[in-house]
Symmetry: C2
Subunit: 351 residues, 2 copies
């Protein structure tokens, strides 16, 4: 069975190349996840570090899926959407009954506090819902090898440094990371996990590039910030549309975590966001307490609180400069899937 | 005339997709440049910040080219190799007589002290050798727009953050940078310069990805560190072969510039190299003078001075983990050019 057959067997409703919606905490909820899966992609609910609302989000997704005129073909006993956890913060014992109850097609693990914690999440998830596939997000070759040996991951989400939001503070982009991970796993494992590429992909050209680099599918976050199904403030969304020259206008930093009080991240991780006044003040030496006070005051402003001269955080990847319109999540999935074929055809003619 | 016709007219000996050898200072000299061009690529001599040896390098290249059984087809009045300058340090008045004398097919400009300096280099080069094409290395969308408006660049070398050696300290990888540059120039210029992709490319998969991202050709540096034609210490070359997990084992930093006394670089630029004891000592707080003293002592050790526990600098990009053997520069060019077609064919079947 080749990789494309495997992916079609595990997620029978998808079309290839598969487009995945990143489990963005607070932003990717039932509406987005269901729209993405309806369009032949794989949608995720971002549970993140806190599973207290997850029951209600999964219940909403189940209701939306039940209301479809024709149900999505799924593997028996699974819901055709996944759930993403930030493992260092999420409560394993609270999560397991929900995995057992809803049986998401995939459980995506990211930033566990240790490999033994990753092993515990994996083992208990497989026990709670045997058909749920284990996805592990990695940012290095060593991470990838560990995820296979520790969790026997079904899927590795290989994240390059262009990605928005949290990831390894230090690393490579998909250009070299993906081929090196691909080779390392082929050498060490024979038949490896499926590889989903994340980081810097917002449209067809980069999606196609990721496939040629060795990915079985692509994952987009930043692009889905600009869809009506995103649970996102208008000010944040406007900032995503405004930003250009994505490598210059975004930065990997811990500053936004400090301001927002999300202090549980390991030293190895930070997050990419659009630069703003908070960031420049921090770099300029402003005391973190003063910066935080200004940040909290800015929250009162609502949508006006976002912008290059404002203080609210807009996490986004370097591909933000390629996000130029608000478009339905399902239409984004179809645009990218069809676009990949067009790009490939064009390249073939060029060569 | 499409881009492929343009590139074939300007460099008649090349085969597509064109593979370019980066003008690595002290390392890419006549032997490497000629081998790369002989194989249908475009070889560069790295003059860097110092043109005092350039006459002798160009003379050697001319001799090697004259000795070929059948001469490479060139545009009239050009040598089928290029020269790369680091403009903030290179002496314009010393360089121009050499450009006039040898007429390299391309003059590659990087890190000028100002846009007016870039304009002066461009204008005087075109006067000294009208057939010499102007290549400008850029690392952001804004850089790209400026290079077109200031220098009417014939070629932009678009460098992503994975690249080894010097480049912008802060930016995006080719995954998002190349499509955004492509779009920005199409919008602002109609018919734009040719785009050559650099940064993170060491083999066929990433070369093919770069083409799909919008490149007319690819430039490799790190890969050519492991060819017999490189003017490189064995210890450095061994370090390139040893290093794996390229995003983890390399870092962008100014530490190596401080140790080596190459202090003329702007604050906007740093360089990617393999981490070693010098780097960890610097991060650990060692005084720069003490670190420099230890570095200089290490120079006495010859090839033993390189390694993860040693102190000599090994500049390399994140693709270093994909460099696994020493191979002739010409064979590398052919491997990549033919490999791109194989990768493309494989992807088409997969989709």
């Amino acid at each position: 069975m080749n990789d494309m057959q495997r992916i079609k067997e595990d997620y029978p409703w998808i079309q290839t190349p598969v487009v995945v919606g990143a489990p963005m905490r607070l932003i990717a909820l039932a509406d987005m996840a269901v729209e993405i899966s309806k369009a032949g992609g794989i949608g995720f609910i971002g549970a993140g570090t806190d599973v207290s609302d997850l029951d209600s989000h999964l219940s909403s997704a189940q209701t939306l899926l039940s209301a479809l005129p024709s149900p999505l073909p799924t593997k028996p006993h699974t819901l055709p959407i996944g759930v993403g956890f930030i493992n260092w913060g999420a409560d394993l014992s609270a999560a397991m009954p929900l995995i057992q109850k809803y049986k998401p097609c995939a459980a995506w693990f990211f930033a566990p506090s240790s490999l033994s914690s990753l092993a515990a999440w994996t083992q208990q998830t497989r026990q709670a819902s045997p058909a749920t596939k284990i996805w592990v997000q990695v940012g290095s070759v060593q991470d990838a090898i560990s995820a296979v040996s520790t969790a026997d991951a079904d899927v590795l989400v290989v994240q390059g440094t262009d990605a928005g939001g949290h990831g390894l503070a230090h690393g490579a982009s998909l250009m070299s990371l993906l081929p090196e991970v691909h080779d390392a796993l082929s050498v060490s494992a024979g038949v490896g996990p499926l590889l989903i590429a994340a980081g810097g992909i917002a449209e067809s050209r980069s999606a196609c590039a990721a496939v040629l680099l060795g990915a079985d599918g692509v994952c987009l976050g930043t692009r889905f910030l600009a869809c009506p199904e995103a649970s996102i403030a208008s000010g944040y969304q406007a900032e995503v549309l405004r930003a250009t020259d994505g490598g210059q206008v975004t930065v990997r930093t811990k500053v936004y975590d400090h301001l927002r009080g999300t202090t549980g991240w390991a030293e190895t991780h930070n997050a990419r966001g659009i630069v703003n006044r908070s960031y420049f003040d921090a770099v300029g030496g402003m005391d973190v307490e003063e910066n935080k006070r200004l940040y909290e005051a800015e929250m009162e402003k609502g949508d006006e609180g976002w912008g290059e001269h404002a203080r609210m955080t807009a996490y986004a990847g370097t591909a933000v400069g390629l996000v130029r319109e608000v478009k339905g999540a399902g239409d984004i999935v179809k645009e990218i899937r069809e676009g990949v074929k067009v790009v490939l055809k064009g390249a073939k003619m060029m060569l």
